[in-house]
């Protein structure tokens, strides 16, 4: 009995130790962002702030320098919003229609086509970086937010199609057949049968796409111009800007601001986030 209790304590001990390991960076970021530079230099990394100051947050939001531009994260944060919202919506709508076809309106060659689209999820994006830069130039979208939206829609299609296909494939085909007998067409069936039951999978798709697009750096740094950089690129520029005294507290505040939207999504709808993660990795 005692050895069993001991084992139990050990179990909880290890689980809590790991919880502390995962929480530590967030704790350090948060406490550092509330300290003055003086306190950072003299105090310890893990100490709570003695005098809480919100000045680093204000600076990170509106005056910190990213490269030569000293307007803080604010304009870049809005760039990310302007990029992510349309990209998420467009890729989800197209993914829903594609998934609906693949699950319920199979034709000859559909499986091959689905495999080809799925394959697009796995390519390393480095292999499309150079031609995409040229293509965006040709399309007149180089260095613009619409250009980034376009890129995210294209390379998000594979995942959104996969989500909806796997969800719709569980719905019995007799339902579609019966509706067809009643004279309903392709869009009519989608609109009045499939869309109303799609809320859970729409949520998964939206959360997955939002997280991917908000957190993206590679496309942002490769294809954005001076005025269209997303928040991840700006954060990296702020942290690596070499002018003046290194303001670690501002860096940490900026990092939290950049992370806030996806953290919020995770806290509010973590269940769907996990479903997206696992659906993105385990095919059905």
């Amino acid at each position: 009995m005692t050895s069993k209790t001991l084992l139990r304590w050990g179990l909880y001990g290890i689980l809590i130790l790991f919880a502390l390991f995962y929480l530590m960076p967030l704790f350090v970021m948060l406490t550092t962002s509330l300290k003055s530079l003086e306190e950072i230099r003299t105090g310890s990394l893990l100490a709570l702030p003695r005098d809480i100051t919100f000045a680093p947050w204000a600076e990170a939001w509106s005056t910190a320098c990213a490269g030569t531009q000293c307007e803080g994260l604010r304009p870049f944060f809005w760039n990310s919003v302007l990029m992510a919202v349309p990209a998420v919506m467009i890729s989800t709508v197209i993914g829903a229609l594609n998934g609906y076809v693949f699950a319920q309106w199979k034709f000859r060659g559909a499986n091959l086509l689905f495999a080809a689209i799925l394959f697009g999820c796995f390519i390393p994006f480095q292999v499309v970086l150079l031609p995409m830069a040229q293509m965006l130039g040709l399309m007149g979208l180089a260095g613009t937010i619409p250009g980034l939206i376009f890129v995210h829609v294209i390379y998000g299609l594979g995942f959104t199609t996969l989500f909806f296909r796997n969800y719709y494939v569980t719905i019995p085909q007799e339902l579609v057949r019966a509706a067809k007998v009643d004279g309903a067409g392709f869009f009519r069936i989608f609109w009045s049968i499939f869309l109303p039951i799609s809320l859970p999978i729409i949520t998964v798709s939206v959360i997955w796409q939002f997280t991917q697009i908000w957190n993206d750096f590679l496309f942002g740094v490769s294809f954005s111009g001076a005025g269209s950089q997303p928040v991840t690129v700006a954060l990296n520029n702020i942290v690596n800007s070499t002018t003046g005294v290194k303001a670690y507290n501002v860096d940490m505040a900026a990092a939290i601001i950049a992370a806030l939207p996806t953290l919020l999504v995770y806290v509010v709808a973590g269940k769907y986030f996990i479903r997206g993660l696992t659906a993105g990795s385990v095919k059905g």
Partner: protein, 290 residues
């Protein structure tokens, strides 16, 4: 009109089909083509054999990048799997507050790798971070300056990457553990088989497909790792923490060497395909019971 009605599904798919054809397969072909030319700052389309690949394999920096990929990838995959499996098994023991712990373990996956890199760069900063904190506790000679040591910096990338992804592996494994037939487990318990034997002989072997999925996802993350290195070490000190992805980016956007960028991207793609193609093939192959 009737044709259109009959072919609505194909018409709906057509734009995606064209987009994937051009922007995935067409672009891969373009990059492949460029990798066999002498392109430098601007693309040139006259084929020139395998000179780019010869240059690539002769470049010491590419050598470092590939060695780093295997070292980083190997450690990252193994450590994440070990931690993930351990946490999943522990959490599976009717733990109170399981939901809270799960949430804590998994939240790093919601963060941008740039944020992760920024946070760890600060924690690992020898002058102000962990090293300084531990010295402050009285261990004056404590040293933890991997971030600035050329031969150790790659391990800081492993540390941050494991922090980011191991919770996700835990979630995958936990889902797998919960899907094992509880009848079999109960029967084994009734027979008096000890818990660790139940795990090693019954539960874990049935989870083989999940190990494979976890491996594929982690390998994929490792090969694509770019943001984390940029934010954590910037590829440095020197180019000690370069990976193929950062090498490709440097060649494409700061060195103006499109040929090298294209050939390195092609090698990255081949490494990924060597792992993913057999997996996708086995997943998508029509099963006998269908």
């Amino acid at each position: 009109m009737e044709w259109l009605e009959r072919n609505v599904p194909k018409v709906v798919l057509a734009p995606s089909f064209v987009a994937i054809l051009v922007f995935v397969y067409g672009f891969i072909a373009w990059t492949a083509w460029i990798s066999f030319t002498r392109s430098r700052l601007m693309p040139r389309y006259e084929l020139d054999g395998v000179t780019q690949y010869e240059r690539l394999f002769a470049a010491p920096r590419w050598d470092v990048a590939m060695n780093n990929l295997f070292l980083f990838g190997g450690l990252f995959i193994v450590i994440s799997m070990v931690i993930g499996l351990m946490l999943a098994i522990f959490l599976d023991q009717k733990i109170r507050a399981e939901g809270v712990l799960r949430t804590i373990y998994l939240y790093p996956m919601a963060l941008s790798l740039i944020v992760t890199g920024t946070a760890w760069k600060w924690i690992l900063n020898p002058g102000l971070g962990i090293q300084e904190a531990v010295r402050g506790w009285g261990f004056e000679n404590f040293t933890f300056d991997w971030l600035i040591q050329p031969d150790m910096a790659i391990y800081t990338v492993v540390l941050a990457a494991v922090w980011q992804a191991s919770g996700f592996v835990m979630a995958l494994f936990l889902a797998g553990l919960r899907s094992v037939d509880s009848e079999i487990i109960r029967a084994a318990q009734v027979d008096g088989i000890p818990t660790h034997r139940i795990y090693s002989a019954i539960i874990i072997p049935t989870m083989a497909p999940i190990f494979l999925s976890a491996f594929i996802v982690l390998a994929h993350l490792a090969i694509k790792a770019f943001d984390l290195v940029i934010a954590l070490t910037g590829g440095g000190p020197g180019y000690a923490t370069d990976l193929p992805a950062t090498y490709m980016y440097a060649m494409a956007f700061s060195r103006g060497d499109l040929g090298q960028a294209a050939s390195s991207a092609m090698i990255m793609m081949m490494v990924i395909f060597a792992i993913v193609v057999p997996y996708l093939y086995s997943e998508l192959r029509p099963r006998r019971d269908q």
